[in-house]
């Protein structure tokens, strides 16, 4: 390699690194910091203060919210582990009929539209829910869905797919020799499971658990609708933000900071534990699936199919309500397509907006995740480490915080020329970028750098080597990342709600507004349309992804 090439090599990727850092600083750090500063400001005077935090940690109202958030967050995550791990173990180690069906449903649970699910649970298990009434016919009094236990149940069934999919992927990639050795040394199957298998899948399980925990802490819709006086930090922050008095949303921001700090601590703790134990695994001896027989086989099948069906119930209820005959907001018995007729006038715009914004964001995400993954994997500079760390931030920051940051930073500023549509695309881009980067990075890690080096040695410019050699090699990872970010972008609600204007309404916003008006038929029809759109994308991911389940994480 000549000195000249060496210089150009350094130059191109240094420039790219600089560009990435600049984009992240402008679109991620700057807006977030502008909002977070509000947490240190007195609402009335605008002076610097720690008073907001003092209030959060001394007033019972906030302290209870803090305890409640941790309570439902931890128990919801635990519940998700309790059903996710066995489900993964059964499907990875035994022949289960309809395995593809189970995976599809588990993924559809993940991509189901937000907010409406909690109402579906009320229709089933509320005081007048059809399941409550059904059991009532036999004199069985079921506890209603309201309160902490209901929230934990919903979190369990909503977030278990993360644990299931991550654990299953890890189990499939495990070297069977370890388990064989344990068996040869006289371990019982239970000892083997707890001493060998479980520690080996711990990284995957804990990563899934952290995702569950972070999402459970941030989830606003479920506790707001099912809580009935049981308040969590997320509902407190939202109530504070929605308050009509105007002025600076200082308490909403302060509570959000506390929520982010909890998530950040959990994430750092998990990283620390993981860094202490390292497992290298070469797939020389992949596990072989066994056949279960007799009653055990029946129990296993009932368990596996039962779990995903129960988790899909709220979605099915939503689809069902969309076909009920309505008169205004009232379901009057019988079936009809009124709800679909009513969305015809407004839905086309919302559908096309949802697609245009999500696709616009995905184009940006794909380009940047290719470049960022290269910088993270191939260039071990301090900047690369910082970018890797920054890629966790969008997971932790609530959409509301991000969107308020966008409004205060960009509205009226030079970036305002992109308009609301442009801002929404940039918001989706920055919030969903980690999905693309994660997927591209794992693809790139499996490819040796020798090919790009050969291209550069033969005289190709680094940019050309990247485009002609690297990009085709990581294309599957890029495609999966693109689809994953598309699915999460098209379901984005909390940020859009603050940024959207008349021409830029999206489907999740319309669903939310229909729910606010009590128009469940309308919300059901819109959710069904959104579900069909995301379902089509899940199918597309299945077609493109080599290892389809892990594609969603």
């Amino acid at each position: 390699m000549s000195l000249f090439h060496r210089l150009r090599h350094t130059d191109f990727w240094t420039r790219v690194t600089g560009l990435i850092v600049a984009v992240l600083a402008l679109l991620l750090l700057f807006p977030i910091l502008r909002v977070l500063m509000l947490g240190f400001v007195d609402a009335d005077t605008g002076a610097f203060t720690f008073g907001n935090f003092v209030e959060v940690f001394t007033r019972n109202y906030y302290l209870n919210g803090f305890k409640n958030s941790l309570f439902v967050g931890v128990l919801g995550t635990l519940g998700a582990c309790l059903i996710g791990i066995p489900l993964a173990f059964f499907t990875a180690r035994f022949h289960v009929q309809g395995q593809a069906w189970i995976s599809t449903l588990a993924i559809l649970v993940l991509v189901a539209p937000p907010f409406i699910g909690a109402y579906a649970w009320i229709m089933m298990l509320g005081s007048n829910g059809f399941m409550t009434n059904f059991f009532g016919l036999f004199g069985i009094e079921t506890p209603t869905i309201y309160g902490a236990h209901g929230i934990i149940l919903v979190f369990t069934l909503k977030f278990f797919p993360f644990i299931y999919l991550m654990t299953q992927t890890s189990l499939n990639g495990m070297n069977k020799s370890f388990e064989d050795a344990a068996e040869n040394l006289g371990c019982t199957p239970w000892q083997r499971f707890t001493k060998i298998t479980l520690p080996l899948v711990f990284p995957a399980v804990s990563t899934g658990a952290i995702i569950c925990f972070v999402l459970a802490i941030a989830d606003f819709g479920t506790p707001a609708i099912l809580g009935r006086g049981f308040r969590t930090l997320s509902t407190i922050a939202f109530s504070a933000y929605r308050s009509e008095l105007g002025g600076r949303p200082t308490m909403a921001v302060t509570v959000s900071i506390v929520m982010m700090a909890i998530s950040m601590l959990a994430l750092l703790a998990q990283r620390r534990i993981l860094s202490k134990r390292r497992y290298a695994s070469a797939l020389t001896n992949p596990p072989v699936k066994q056949r279960m027989t007799g009653w055990r086989n029946t129990v296993m099948h009932v368990f596996c199919h039962g779990i995903v069906l129960i988790a899909m119930l709220p979605t099915l209820v939503v689809v069902y309500t969309s076909f009920l005959k309505t008169n205004g907001p009232v379901f009057i018995g019988g079936y009809g397509l009124e709800s679909y007729e009513r969305i015809l006038r407004t839905a086309p715009e919302a559908i096309s907006n949802s697609f245009v914004f999500s696709l616009g964001a995905v184009v940006l995400i794909t380009v940047f995740s290719g470049l960022i993954s290269y910088v993270i994997v191939r260039r071990e500079t301090a900047a690369a480490g910082a970018i890797d760390f920054l890629m966790m931030v969008p997971y932790l920051v609530p959409g509301v915080v991000m969107a308020i940051g966008f409004v205060t930073t960009f509205r009226g500023g030079p970036l305002d020329v992109v308009g609301t549509a442009g801002l929404l695309i940039l918001l989706y881009f920055i919030r969903r970028l980690p999905y693309g980067v994660r997927s591209a990075t794992s693809s790139l890690r499996q490819i040796k750098p020798s090919m790009e080096e050969a291209a550069v040695n033969l005289g190709a410019a680094p940019a050309k080597a990247f485009l002609v050699v690297t990009v085709p090699l990581i294309l599957p990872g890029l495609i999966v990342g693109a689809l994953m970010s598309f699915i999460t972008a098209i379901n984005e609600l909390s940020g859009t709600l603050i940024l959207y204007d008349g021409g830029t309404i999206t489907m999740p916003v319309q669903i939310y507004l229909a729910v606010l008006d009590g128009e469940f038929g309308l919300a059901g029809a819109l959710s069904t349309v959104l579900l069909v759109c995301t379902g089509a994308c899940v199918y597309a991911v299945f077609r493109f992804a080599e290892n389809r389940d892990s594609a969603f994480l």
């Binding site: 790219v16 008169n327 907001p329 009232v330 008349g502």
Partner: protein
């Protein structure tokens, strides 16, 4: 490479900006009005004026936050159908305008220079008798404070919903003194199951999740007319017959369009639609919906919205403290 994705990004954003750029004659309306009013009235306005209307719908608290955040570069022309005190409380965000037809307003409807009344909102109870389990149908504010209705009453939050704030102010005005009102309200709040949105209140009662809801008469009427198992009850001590407001945004990008929107909403034909949708019209020459009790038979507290507006910060703060105690 770099220029390639740069130009792709630029082209994408430019194309989108072009698509969604505001045409001339576009009126941007922020509103908390129920969807059925938008569906009925906005196409009529567009047909009559040739203007295009951009609707941004959200809770009134969210809309106010948006207006505050955008104060430097206003995007909205009109704030349509919110509790008038919200406007009086933030006068810097709005511009006074007297809509055409203001001379035809029924008496008591014009309460502020800052805004024009759009409809008269009547507060009422929606009751699902079957779910009362034999308890009597409550017919007064005082009855709602009876502990026998604990956890049976649905209400929105007075700090997040305009209608819930009017309900609070109504109770405080309905008794001999404000203190007496607070005493009753404290009992009510102890029985309340608070909902994040006022639209969900009649929904919950209609679906039998809760037996009683404190809500708007027109919202309840939609469930009654739809054939739901519910009835409308007016509190005997008197209720609010309060105008809800619409106002021009200060520095509106299309102020002329905004004014024509306000003029239209006060016109006789628009007010006739208001009546058909179950709200009380504000013009003296348009009659109420025949499905509703005539206004003359509803006991009114003579709702004083100037008082409600002047005391807003104090009342909401007191409400917030009371929630911590009794909820």
């Amino acid at each position: 490479m770099k220029t390639m994705f740069k130009s792709t990004a630029l082209a994408t954003t430019l194309a989108l900006t072009a698509t969604f750029a505001f045409a001339d004659g576009t009126v941007t309306v922020y509103t908390a009005v129920p969807q059925n009013f938008i569906d009925a009235l906005v196409p009529m306005y567009e047909a009559e004026t040739g203007n295009t209307v951009e609707i941004i719908k959200a809770g009134s608290g969210e809309l106010l936050n948006r207006l505050t955040a955008e104060a430097g570069a206003p995007a909205a022309d009109v704030l349509w159908s919110v509790d008038g005190t919200v406007i009086d409380f933030n006068p810097a965000l709005f511009e006074a305008y007297e809509a055409a037809g203001s001379d035809m307003l029924a008496s008591g409807m014009k309460q502020s220079e800052m805004w024009t009344p759009f409809t008269a909102v009547v507060m009422a109870f929606i009751v699902n008798e079957e779910k009362l389990d034999g308890l009597p149908v409550p017919d007064s504010w005082a009855a709602l404070a009876d502990p026998q209705y604990d956890e049976m009453i649905s209400s929105a939050r007075a700090d997040g919903s305009g209608s819930a704030y009017i309900q609070l102010a109504t109770v405080l005005q309905a008794f001999d003194s404000e203190e007496a009102g607070w005493e009753v309200y404290e009992g009510m709040l102890g029985n309340f199951v608070l909902s994040e949105s006022s639209g969900a209140v009649p929904r919950f009662v209609n679906d039998g999740e809760l037996a009683i809801g404190v809500t708007l008469e027109d919202a309840a009427l939609r469930y009654v007319e739809g054939g739901g198992p519910v009835q409308i009850v007016y509190p005997s001590e008197g209720t609010a017959i309060a105008p809800d407001a619409m106002a021009l945004v200060a520095g509106a990008p299309n102020a002329e369009g905004g004014k024509s929107f306000l003029d239209f909403m006060l016109s006789q034909e628009a007010q006739a639609v208001v009546a058909a949708e179950g709200r009380r019209p504000v013009r003296s020459d348009v009659a109420s919906n025949p499905a509703l009790v005539p206004l003359g038979e509803v006991n009114s507290v003579g709702y004083d919205s100037a008082w409600a507006s002047d005391n807003r910060a104090r009342l909401v703060e007191a409400w917030g403290d009371m929630v911590l105690d009794v909820q």
